[in-house]
């Protein structure tokens, strides 16, 4: 059976906590699952918690950007929370500034941000 990253629904928000090392297939699976869940639940916001993520490559970085863009098309705001300094530096060095993605330091601030920005 293939590994899956759980998606937890909290009221009208979806919380994704990435606790394992990401590999390409897993990232694409997450992208699939998440877009489906947004449509099913009519979620207004998505929190992606990546504080346990220690290694990223350009592909994972791009998938995170893509997920955010896809969620936006489905009318949900995405906030990436808890990024490690090393991960942030890597992404910047790779030239992936994730321009359209909202970020926050931790889950509670991310939630506050979503509550503020979503109507």
């Amino acid at each position: 059976m293939q590994e899956k990253i759980p998606i937890i629904q909290i009221e009208d928000l979806l919380l994704v906590s990435i606790q394992v090392d990401m590999y390409d297939a897993l990232a694409l699976q997450l992208q699939d699952d998440l877009t489906n869940r947004i449509q099913e639940t009519n979620a207004r916001g998505v929190l992606i918690e990546i504080s346990a993520l220690e290694v990223v490559d350009s592909f994972i970085g791009r998938v995170i950007g893509n997920i955010s863009a896809m969620a936006r098309v489905l009318d949900a705001r995405t906030v990436v929370v808890g990024m490690q300094p090393a991960v942030a530096i890597t992404l910047v060095e790779l030239g992936l500034n994730l321009e359209g993605v909202h970020t926050a330091l931790n889950v509670s601030r991310g939630m506050a941000l979503l509550r503020r920005t979503t109507p």
Binding site: V81, M83, A88
Partner: protein, 282 residues
């Protein structure tokens, strides 16, 4: 056999060579009477001659890297490092070894002066040996200096990148000195770590102390800002002097994606407002 001559010679004329050598050293232009006392010099010289004699007895004089010479090299290394710290120059340190040449050579002449070929061979081998030992002191001296320089560089890196917490949720990074790639990395890492540790979502980068901003420095700054944003913290760049503002515009550096303020005070005011504080005067 020149190899056998040196140990015997050192043993036979132990006292004479030492006295001669000390006289040489004291008379030499490189003698630093202000840095080292006569007693110290005598102790060091005696010790060196003892170890030299032991090493010459047991090993060949061609290869000073062999284990027989380890005690001699150790003594020279300590001596060179100590003298380097005391302020001796490399040539003054090497002079310690080189000045031993003439006492030994003059004793060689006394001993085997009649046989020109043997004398020549002995002098060459002694001279070679002492040259190597002298150069070794210079090498150690140099290495000790380099260690000091490296350590100071590291210390400077740390000294120059303090991250200060200004208020709950607001940190500031006053940058002083030129920003190069190595420093940018240190700055970036310490700022990002501090953002995590203090849970701050606003960071003020103050560049009042940065003398010049060129495209490279600007790029480094923007990288830092982007990385902080990825973690969920907003950056404000403050302390941009008029000349720097002019250069930046002339160079076509685009800072429109970053909040910039002229002074740190202004940046703090903005940060407080964003964090929801109101400053009221009684």
């Amino acid at each position: 056999m020149p190899k056998a001559v040196l140990p015997d010679l050192l043993q036979k004329y132990r006292q004479e060579i030492l006295d001669d050598w000390l006289r040489q050293q004291l008379a030499a232009a490189t003698m630093r009477a202000d840095l080292i006392s006569q007693d110290q010099l005598r102790a060091q010289s005696t010790e060196f001659l003892q170890r030299l004699e032991a090493a010459a007895k047991s090993g060949d004089t061609a290869d000073i890297q062999s284990s027989h010479w380890a005690p001699v090299l150790e003594l020279l290394g300590d001596l060179s490092r100590a003298r380097g710290r005391m302020g001796f120059s490399p040539s003054e340190t090497a002079g310690f070894v080189f000045s031993l040449k003439s006492p030994i050579v003059s004793r060689l002449r006394l001993e085997i002066g009649g046989d020109a070929a043997a004398l020549f061979e002995s002098v060459t081998s002694v001279s070679d040996l002492l040259d190597k030992l002298g150069l070794y002191t210079t090498e150690v001296h140099q290495r000790a200096r380099e260690e000091v320089i490296n350590r100071q560089q590291l210390e400077m890196l740390e000294l120059s990148t303090p991250v200060v917490k200004l208020w709950d949720g607001i940190v500031a990074l006053p940058l002083i000195g030129t920003l190069d790639s190595a420093r940018t990395n240190v700055v970036m890492e310490s700022l990002l770590q501090q953002i995590v540790d203090t849970g701050s979502d606003i960071a003020i980068i103050d560049i009042t102390g940065v003398p010049t901003v060129d495209t490279l420095v600007a790029q480094h700054l923007l990288k830092t800002v982007s990385a902080a944003r990825l973690m969920g913290a907003d950056c404000i760049i403050s302390g941009i002097r008029p000349q720097i503002a002019q250069t930046m515009v002339h160079l076509g550096i685009d800072l429109t994606t970053v909040a910039t303020k002229a002074t740190m005070a202004e940046a703090l005011r903005t940060a407080m407002t964003r964090a929801g504080y109101r400053v009221v005067r009684d």
